[in-house]
């Protein structure tokens, strides 16, 4: 009797809830032993109807939904969406607002890369790296909390500016934290960059060619790892990126190891950008020395009785959640467009006109009405070109909002990256692609 051995393939289902994959995605793999012969990538397990919700909410109310697109760098999403609406409405954000937005974006980019690298290192067994990275991210989150009032779901921007100015002492604290983050990155660098196990698993795995990267529409760190220095902050400068000096780190081969190096280098560049912004930013109201502070309740009472003379020029002492949105602060960071911006708190508390204007903007069915038309604005998100295509027909809510998620394009190339490799290679490749389900599936 002769035994013939035929080559047989078998199917393996990975996901949608797999411990070594930080994201909900299903890979149906066809394997021949260890080797991946074919793969079907199935997505949509976190589809949350962002685009449908955006059609049903007033313009400013869409901002909380944008937080949850790429929840690792929410501030960039906030900025991208608001920039699109501002382009449609022709609003110009004041200088200080632009700087504040840039600082916010770059903090988010650092947290994005920290999470991505930490999680993918953990999946390769380097748990201590994960703990170090999350520790550094925690310091940044606490500052984001201070700035926006929330750690992750920030909703910081408004159409025409940002919610509030930088809190007092923010610069010193942030620069101090950057020192600590740099120290952590140094530790991680020492642990990983020349680590034999890590390099063996990352280097030469998941190689992406330049032609494929362009064909799949890949942008961001993944495109830069192939050696194309494309960065929207440089190619189509927005905010104040044309006034700061930064480098665009690029890789050479487009493998996982290059993607790791690119992300590590980008964090340093982001911190450099923030430091330069602090040097250039126009002074804000917190640097004013003489301020007459009046309790917000007292101010409202005086306003109701018509005694506005007593509170003329005074600043309201507000709840911490409203800090930075008072007189002077708002005008420094938000466009002076009464049809689009909330009035400063002193006017709301102290005058009937201010109160009416406030309600005109926040009331359901009123709100802001950008003119009919459509526009597309792209910003450099954590994963690449994050675009918002907005169609308006002049009502108080968008007619359609299309988010161009960078992740979606990176993931559409995943099949190409993992076919031909072994099963174990899927984990580092998937980690370095940095899939964020909220953005991928929207």
């Amino acid at each position: 009797m002769t035994v013939t051995r035929e080559s047989k393939t078998f199917m393996l289902n990975m996901g949608p809830q797999h411990p070594a994959m930080h994201g909900v995605i299903r890979l149906v793999l066809e394997l021949e032993g260890e080797k991946v012969v074919d793969c079907d990538v199935q997505i949509g397990y976190l589809h949350r109807a962002f685009e449908k919700h955006a059609e049903n909410e007033p313009w400013n109310n869409v901002i909380p939904w944008t937080d949850r697109l790429n929840y690792v760098s929410p501030l960039i999403n906030n900025v991208g969406y608001c920039m699109a609406v501002e382009k449609l409405s022709g609003l110009q954000v004041p200088e200080r607002g632009l700087y504040v937005r840039t600082i916010a974006c770059e903090i988010s980019r650092v947290t994005d890369h920290l999470t991505c690298l930490g999680a993918s290192a953990m999946e390769l067994g380097a748990l201590s790296v994960f703990l170090y990275m999350i520790k550094a991210r925690e310091w940044l989150y606490q500052l984001v909390d201070k700035l926006t009032g929330a750690r992750i779901t920030t909703s910081y921007t408004r159409v025409g500016g940002v919610k509030s100015d930088l809190p007092p002492g923010f610069e010193e604290e942030l620069l101090k934290v950057f020192g600590q983050v740099r120290e952590t990155l140094g530790e991680v660098d020492a642990l990983l960059t020349k680590n034999r196990i890590f390099v063996d698993r990352m280097s030469g795995v998941g190689v992406l060619s330049q032609a494929d990267a362009l064909g799949y529409g890949i942008t961001g760190p993944m495109l830069r790892s192939t050696g194309i220095p494309f960065d929207l902050r440089r190619a189509e400068p927005y905010l104040v990126y044309d006034r700061v000096d930064f480098e665009i780190p690029v890789g050479a081969t487009g493998d996982n190891y290059d993607r790791y190096l690119v992300r590590m280098a980008e964090m340093e560049q982001s911190m450099r950008i923030v430091e330069q912004c602090f040097r250039q930013i126009p002074p804000g109201p917190h640097s004013l020395t003489e301020r007459q502070m009046v309790d917000a309740g007292v101010m409202a009472d005086l306003g109701k009785h018509g005694e506005t003379g007593k509170i003329w020029g005074a600043q309201a002492e507000t709840d911490p959640t409203l800090e930075g949105s008072g007189r002077g602060c708002r005008t420094a960071v938000a466009a002076s467009a009464p049809r689009y911006n909330l009035p400063v708190k002193e006017e709301v508390y102290g005058s009937i006109e201010g109160l009416m204007r406030h309600f005109e903007i926040v009331m359901w069915g009123r709100g802001i009405n950008p003119p009919a038309g459509e526009t597309y604005v792209a910003v450099e998100g954590g994963n690449g070109e994050l675009g918002f295509h907005i169609v308006s027909d002049g009502r108080d809510r968008p007619y359609r909002v299309r988010c161009r998620p960078p992740c979606f394009f990176n993931m559409s190339a995943l099949r190409k990256l993992i076919v031909g490799g072994s099963v174990a290679d899927i984990i580092p490749t998937f980690g370095s692609v940095n899939m964020i389900a909220g953005e991928l599936d929207r």
Binding site: R402, R404, A413
Partner: protein, 193 residues
């Protein structure tokens, strides 16, 4: 970028209906049957990246607007969906954007143009997403599958006539009747003379 305008309008004649905007915002409107050819020519002329492909359902555009606001629906007779191919010309060595172009095309009913997934491989997923969300079919992809939702799902949620909270659970309690959501027009204070 007037060179691009000339190349398109001269090279394709009637198939390019209009060309407007400039710089980053330039947009061409083409006939759906010619869309693939135009896109192929654009790819050959250096538009190496398909940045985005999306659709807009214009069926309710300009309806129920608040007083004082008018908007005319740009959709031609018999058309409801407009596809937008967003292209970019990326200089690979210096990493600069050499040009951006949006190619719009109005399609009749739900019959989309021919697929471009052989030109740009990422169009595969984008076309599947458009079928999933809008129910627009691409003429040479008859057996196209859903991308984000599940095959048991009936209807296409980003169409304007699909209620936002009409749920079709795979497991769990069935039939939650969609609740009427208040729109801005309902809550707008009305002055009765």
């Amino acid at each position: 970028m007037s060179g691009l305008r000339d190349a398109l309008t001269k090279g394709f004649g009637d198939a390019v209906l209009s060309f407007e905007g400039e710089g980053r915002d330039q947009a061409a409107l083409v006939k759906p049957e010619a869309a693939r050819d135009v896109l192929r020519a654009l790819k050959d002329s250096g538009f190496n990246m398909l940045v985005d492909l999306t659709a807009v359902d214009f069926s309710r555009y300009g309806q129920d607007l608040p007083p004082g606001v008018t908007a005319t629906n740009p959709a031609p007779e018999g058309s409801r969906f407009r596809l937008t191919y967003r292209l970019m010309k990326l200089g690979a060595t210096e990493g600069l954007v050499l040009g951006r172009l949006a190619v719009h095309c109005w399609i009749v009913d739900d019959r989309g143009p021919a697929s471009v997934k052989d030109l740009w491989p990422n169009a595969d997923w984008l076309e599947r997403e458009i079928w999933d969300m809008f129910g627009v079919k691409f003429s040479d992809r008859p057996g196209i599958k859903r991308l984000l939702l599940y095959e048991e799902f009936v209807g296409h949620p980003l169409r304007k006539d699909y209620p936002i909270n009409k749920r079709q659970p795979l497991i769990g309690p069935k039939d939650e009747r969609p609740r009427e959501r208040l729109t801005g027009a309902d809550l707008r204070p009305r002055i009765v003379p």
